[in-house]
């Protein structure tokens, strides 16, 4: 994925020719808007598109609409639907900016500008990340041999007016909620049915355990990275205080303090970078696979549902044959269920195998990059420390 200004975007897809590439060159963001708009530019070499290059502006709700349309489409029951991008969450950042504004009087001008710059950088980082998530979603759809042909997808990309998709109102949200409750109860029932097919049985147990553990690892990595950021913030404060001490001190220590303050400023930037990279390569990876494994679980659920339906249809057919009533109808129902089930099973198998391949590749890429970045930063840090120590020791 090529993007200017998004070099550190997450990349959870293996590199294959998707035939569609996306650009997100402009980040439109206004803090005061409750939702935000993303400019999607799309370059495509697929035949079904009317032009080669086009761009539209889409909102987050429209991405969700597209995702939901896939989920609700029975045709796609046998595929892992790429997980929807997470809702952009700028609340934390906005809160911090507000607090900073309130506390403006209590700190020096330099401190204030410094913190403001940092907050703005943080906000930008979150924004970039959110945009990248949306991009990943679209790329996954584009990479899927069947989904990329979906009509809604084309409309989404090409229709250059507002899709008039509104967010779900309260009634619909309530409906969704109940649907989810029913679904999870049903899911438990369905999961209880033992599968004849070894492959699926194994996948079921595997996915269940994997999903839970990824959830745990994702939460723990988030906590770890938060502590890391707090420590970096502390070093920032220490650096400013040392600077003040250096300017005030009348003894030889003043040069000392100033040098150390400078060092801490630089190491703090590196530490913050380490935390950010860990966030990108590790935490985001885990979060993404949390959502993907959920999508895979959903697929298994749909298959399980189809299996139960098929078995029920068989039982109904037997009953109908026994009573010799509505046999034809029962037969048709049974045929339909059988076809549905087999179709899902076939594609599901391939999907799950692909999922594993994708997962392994993504983990490999991210872990390698994580290690390389950690090394780069540690070496940078070390060099700064060495040079500072050299100067300080030389002074004495």
């Amino acid at each position: 994925m090529m993007q200017e200004g998004l070099d550190d975007g997450p990349d959870f897809l293996s590199e294959e020719d998707r035939g569609v590439s996306f650009f997100f060159p402009f980040l439109i963001s206004v803090l005061s808007l409750s939702s935000y708009c993303v400019l999607c530019m799309c370059v495509s070499t697929l035949p079904n598109f009317k032009q080669n290059e086009f761009s539209v502006v889409r909102q987050h709700e429209e991405f969700i609409w597209l995702h939901d349309s896939f989920v609700e489409n029975e045709e796609y029951a046998g595929y892992i639907i790429p997980p929807a991008p997470p809702k952009p969450d700028f609340d934390a950042s906005r809160e911090k900016l507000q607090k900073l504004g309130e506390g403006e009087g209590s700190m020096t001008k330099e401190e204030f500008t410094k913190m403001k710059q940092e907050l703005e950088a943080e906000y930008l980082a979150i924004f970039k990340k959110t945009v990248a998530m949306h991009e990943v979603f679209l790329c996954r759809v584009a990479a899927h041999p069947v989904l990329r042909k979906d009509l809604n997808f084309h409309v989404f990309l090409e229709y250059n007016q507002d899709l008039s998709v509104r967010g779900k109102n309260k009634k619909e949200k309530l409906e969704d909620f109940f649907k989810n409750v029913v679904k999870s109860a049903d899911g438990v029932l369905v999961a209880g049915v033992k599968d004849v097919d070894d492959f699926f049985e194994h996948e079921k147990t595997f996915l269940l355990e994997y999903h839970n553990r990824v959830k745990d690892a994702s939460a723990k990595s988030d906590r770890m990275i938060r502590s890391h950021k707090s420590a970096a913030d502390d070093i920032n404060r220490i650096a400013s205080t040392l600077y003040t001490l250096g300017t005030q001190d009348s003894t030889d220590l003043c040069k000392f303090f100033l040098k150390v303050s400078e060092l801490f400023e630089k190491t703090r930037k590196i530490e913050a970078r380490v935390a950010a990279d860990e966030d990108l390569k590790l935490a985001d990876l885990l979060k993404y696979y949390l959502r993907e494994s959920q999508a895979a679980k959903d697929l298994l659920y749909r298959r399980g549902r189809a299996l139960v339906d098929y078995e029920n249809a068989n039982k109904a057919l037997d009953k109908a044959r026994a009573k010799n009533k509505d046999v034809l109808q029962a037969e048709t129902t049974q045929q339909v269920c059988c076809q549905k089930f087999e179709k899902i099973s076939e594609s599901a198998k391939q999907e799950l195998i692909d999922f594993k391949t994708r997962r392994v590749a993504a983990f490999r890429k991210n872990l390698v990059e994580l290690a390389e970045l950690e090394l780069k930063h540690a070496k940078g840090n070390l060099q700064l420390l060495h040079s500072c120590l050299g100067v300080l020791k030389g002074d004495t």
Partner: protein, 496 residues
């Protein structure tokens, strides 16, 4: 003895007049010190010299039991002996009258200070152990002193002290030296008041025994670094004698404790009412500098404590992430990825240990140093306050003198001869007091200048050493990080 600082010498204490040769062996000096501090004499409530004469009957082994002289540990010759280093010189000493003690010339002090570089004393406080049980349980620390200085009786001494002993020593030293302008290192604190996470309330946390031991050790080292305090018999007794009477007055709820609190309150009120005409710009400048330093050091201390807290938190979170990653690796069914994830878990575990070590370094190196200096600066400010008090006393004396003179003039007009004589006597008395007050003020100013110079020198040295050590610890951490990630990288690349 050495602790007496207020002239004129009180009656009842034998003055060292004799110029008789005394072999100044370290043993005798120590025994003198021990003799002079017999148990009944140790009362921190009394500031001045003891009322009763020295009892020399305690030590039957003392060859010099007949000698009634008190050896002044502050005699100039002894200073030279001390600075000579290892071997205790056996030189005839002429004992000076005690009045000289107070007027030690600053030149000699400077000589002595140069020789500080051959300062040879090591103190360690270790092995905190619980003694007794129930309500009366306390922690006893082993204080080991290794030295080759002559004023100590042995090269290596090991004694057991409890925390209140340290506090008792401090209160004794403070009462003896603070009001003449010496910066007495502040007492180690039982618990620390720290600000956590920017919460406005400060949490009082009880220090763990090892941290306390470090604190006490640093306190003792600072105390002996000061030339005057090193020779103080209280300090020597603290370091050497195996039994030390309990310093009960350091308990917060004792009578002396309450008296202290009342005095502190009175002092605070006085400080607000005394407006000093600062004639010396140096003092004004220094006071301002110390104010600024205080503010910044406190801020820095708070930030460092926050850093320590977050690093400890990071260490804990990294450990839990490591466990989680290991579990994930277990459930992953692709073998190479599974192995890589387990490796990641191992790396994170090692890193968590690194973070913990770094947090310890943060704490023991920087945080403790800053805490010490915050307290030291409070002591320095206290000394400046003492100078103000002395000035105020001097002013009061002058006012009194003026009044007495006016009274005398009035009496002269009223022509009452008998009262006139009394008035004249009083005037003479107050003239003497004014002179003494001015002398005191000058002396304390001189002392403070010297002390502040010494303090600044020490401060520069301390900070330099600690900061360099701290940076080296950071270097070590980064080097370890590099090692761990370099080991992990091939594993990650090996995922097929």
């Amino acid at each position: 003895m050495a602790e007496e600082r207020e002239p004129p010498p009180l009656p009842g204490v034998p003055e060292p007049q004799d110029a008789e040769d005394l072999f100044v062996s370290a043993a005798s000096a120590m025994e003198d010190a021990e003799r002079s501090l017999s148990p009944e004499d140790i009362s921190s409530s009394s500031n001045g010299p003891k009322a009763e004469p020295m009892l020399l009957d305690h030590d039957p082994d003392d060859l010099f039991a007949e000698a009634t002289e008190e050896v002044s540990l502050d005699s100039p010759e002894r200073q030279m002996i001390l600075s000579d280093g290892p071997s205790p010189a056996i030189t005839p000493v002429t004992i000076n009258p005690r009045a000289d003690v107070f007027d030690r010339s600053p030149d000699q002090d400077e000589d002595e200070e140069e020789n500080r570089d051959t300062f040879d004393i090591q103190i360690s406080v270790s092995d905190p152990e619980k003694v007794g049980d129930g309500m009366n349980a306390y922690m006893a620390y082993k204080v080991t002193t290794k030295t080759s200085l002559s004023i100590f009786s042995r090269d290596e001494v090991c004694v057991k002290r409890r925390f209140s002993d340290f506090l008792g020593l401090h209160s004794k030293l403070a009462s003896k030296y603070m009001h003449i302008g010496y910066i007495v290192p502040p007492a180690p604190e039982k618990s620390i008041v720290g600000q956590r996470l920017g919460r406005r309330s400060s949490a009082v946390t009880e220090l763990d025994p090892d941290a306390k031991a470090c604190l006490c050790c640093r306190y003792l080292l600072r105390t002996v670094k000061q030339p005057a305090l090193l020779k103080d018999p209280d300090v020597l007794q603290f370091l050497e004698s195996s039994e030390l009477p309990r310093a009960v007055s350091t308990q917060a709820l004792s009578g002396a404790g309450i008296l202290r609190m009342v005095n502190k309150a009175a002092d605070a009120v006085n400080k607000m009412t005394i407006k000093m005409n600062e004639s010396d710009a140096w003092f004004e400048e220094k006071q301002q500098q110390f104010e600024n330093l205080d503010v910044q050091l406190r801020k820095l201390h708070a930030s460092v404590e926050s850093l320590v807290f977050h690093r400890k938190e990071l260490s804990v979170n990294t450990a839990s992430f490591a466990k989680s990653a290991a579990m994930l690796g277990n459930s992953e069914d692709h073998t190479a990825l599974s192995r890589a994830l387990s490796q990641l878990a191992e790396v994170e575990e090692k890193i968590d240990q690194l973070h913990q070590d770094q947090a310890c370094a943060d704490f023991y190196l920087i945080s403790e140093l800053l805490g010490d200096y915050v307290r030291l600066i409070t002591a320095v400010k206290g000394v400046f306050d003492q100078r103000m008090k002395t000035w105020a006393k001097c002013q009061d004396a002058q006012v009194m003198l003026q009044r007495k003179r006016e009274a005398e003039a009035k009496l002269q007009h009223a022509n009452k001869p008998d009262k006139l004589q009394q008035a004249k006597d009083e005037i003479r008395e107050w003239e003497g007091k004014v002179q003494q007050g001015e002398r005191d003020f000058e002396q304390i100013s001189k002392n403070i200048r010297r002390e502040v110079g010494r303090f600044e020198k020490d401060r520069v040295k301390d900070f330099r050493v600690v900061i360099i050590k701290y940076l080296e610890s950071l270097v070590h951490t980064q080097q370890q990080l590099i090692k761990y990630w370099e080991a992990f990288l091939p594993e990650a690349k090996a995922i097929a």
